[in-house]
């Protein structure tokens, strides 16, 4: 803490060592990464905020929106102070980054060639920040409509620091053990989606079901909000995936393309699955499917061909549908907005698919997957999936239990009935 504070003081005065001598910044790459960063922010707020809040009941619309916005604020600060350093600071044992970048000391306007030689180090840091922001916001889907806001804030801060930051280091940090192992994760299939999905499952189990779950009808209160959110997610995901090329180049174009086709394929296949299963093609189904496709293509986006991405998308739509419509009722947990069912399941699917479909023809910096003749990658992907899932699930469980003991996770029964908006925030969403 003292260390942090002195780093803070130093930075305040000496600031961001904005020298002008290092490797040259490419303006095109920088423009692309900056706009991609903005796009990923848009995914969280208002994108995900709307996607989720349209699905809850009217009385919880603000509480749900609030979660995404609060995460954005909290993690934006955490990342600058400690998160970036824990994730991307000099390696310690393959497990975590060191303190060197605390308070962004040493993170300036020049490129850091370890991560991106053509854009300002701050631009790389900002792009990564938005990934750290969206991940805990995704988890909130699992415990929608019943978590105390104060507990949520504490959870966000702890989870980001204890789960997200180490995982980001494992997979993306120079020296991180999964990176060294050779597991591929183009834009965060494991770091973002598997980790948030595993935490979501832990949260759904720890918090328990909503009052009235499966006995009362809980239809989405405002599907147009959800659909605006889905549209913004699709739009923003181009920043997420194609931005992960860290430059405006051919690889970015390929990642953009695979992202788009996977989303389209999964939107259609979820719709088709529900049509066959329930007799009607629904808009919420199409929207859920396209998100599932975006999730599944995330780890693979820069490693697979366009046609492979269609297959990944088609599979993601069907499999996530089954996990949500069949598996969830079977086991009976209340993953309210399907954070596990879509991000957990879709993320695992995508990580496996990367092991199957990756090809060095698309990206020489990648690897060849099973269908290009090599099984090694698939093995590494399975290790990465297992490690990320288990680590996130376990630590999330510990954090949640601890918070529950100290301050309680769940709002009072009466408050749940009255809704989060009035009881947690003293506001009403609408007076239409």
């Amino acid at each position: 803490m003292l260390k942090l504070f002195s780093a803070f003081l130093i930075c305040l005065v000496s600031a961001t060592n904005a020298l002008a001598d290092g490797p040259a910044v490419d303006t095109g790459d920088t423009a692309w990464v900056l706009i991609s960063t903005a796009l990923v922010l848009l995914m969280t707020a208002p994108g995900l905020a709307l996607f989720y809040s349209g699905m809850v009941r009217r009385k919880n619309v603000l509480g749900t929106l609030m979660q995404s916005f609060a995460v954005l604020c909290v993690v934006s600060i955490q990342w600058v102070l400690i998160g970036y350093s824990l994730s991307f600071g000099p390696d310690r044992l393959g497990l975590i980054g060191g303190f060197e970048f605390f308070g962004l000391s040493g993170v300036g306007q020049d490129p850091n060639p370890d991560y991106s030689a053509t854009i300002p180090h701050q631009a790389f840091m900002l792009f990564q920040m938005m990934f750290a922001v969206i991940t805990p916001a995704l988890i909130a889907g699992a415990f929608a409509e019943r978590m105390k806001f104060s507990a949520f804030l504490v959870f966000t801060l702890l989870w980001t620091t204890l789960v997200y930051d180490p995982l980001a280091h494992w997979v993306w940090g120079v020296g991180g053990w999964l990176r060294v192992l050779g597991a591929l994760d183009f834009a965060g299939g494991a770091v973002v989606h598997i980790s948030s999905g595993a935490a979501a499952l832990a949260a759904a189990l720890t918090l328990g079901k909503r009052k009235g779950y499966l006995t009362e009808i809980m239809p989405p209160h405002n599907l147009p909000l959800t659909v605006i959110g889905a549209g913004l997610l699709w739009f923003g995901w181009f920043g997420f995936n194609a931005g992960s090329a860290l430059g405006a180049n051919g690889l970015a174009a390929t990642a953009f393309l695979t992202t788009n086709t996977a989303a389209a394929g999964a939107g259609l296949s979820w719709m088709a699955a529900e049509w066959l299963h329930r007799g009607k093609p629904t808009l919420l189904g199409l929207a859920s499917g396209l998100v599932a496709g975006l999730v599944a293509i995330t780890p693979a986006a820069g490693f697979v061909s366009p046609l492979s991405s269609i297959i990944i998308g088609l599979a993601a739509g069907v499999i996530c549908y089954l996990s949500v419509a069949i598996m969830k009722p079977l086991f009976g947990y209340d993953d309210s907005l399907d954070a596990f069912g879509i991000h957990g399941v879709g993320g695992i699917l995508g990580a496996v698919a990367t092991g199957l479909f990756a090809t060095t023809v698309v990206n020489t910096a990648g690897a060849d997957g099973l269908f290009s003749g090599s099984g090694a990658l698939l093995g590494k992907q399975l290790i990465a999936i297992g490690a990320c899932f288990l680590y996130s699930f376990t630590i999330s469980l510990v954090i949640l239990k601890a918070i529950d003991m100290v301050m309680g996770l769940r709002v009072a029964k009466d408050d749940e009935v009255q809704g989060l908006d009035i009881t947690q925030h003293s506001e009403s969403g609408y007076s239409l």
Partner: protein, 112 residues
Amino acid sequence: MKKVEAIIKPFKLDEVKKALGELNIEGMTVTEVKGFGRQKGHSEIYRGAEYMVDFLPKVKIEVVTSDEMTPKVVAAITEAARTGKIGDGKIFITPVDDGVRIRTGERGTDAL
């Protein structure tokens, strides 16, 4: 004075209004309500889960009118609101002791 209270299908509102207009009924109050009855509802599907929604959107029209006009009003509504299909709705006639026009303080049928 009677209150004639009709619960009808929403898309019939315009026709009922017109029919009442022809009787020189100059005032009515309309409320959006939900009806439950013999007419069956519909199912809705959200993420693979199917729900039965048995409350259907209906419109309630309230017309307070003199005793003499009441049968005519009832007849006019019955005719205008009928489609012949289940769920066309009901009319209830209830007694009204008195009425007041707030603007003028007029009482009874003068208030209508």
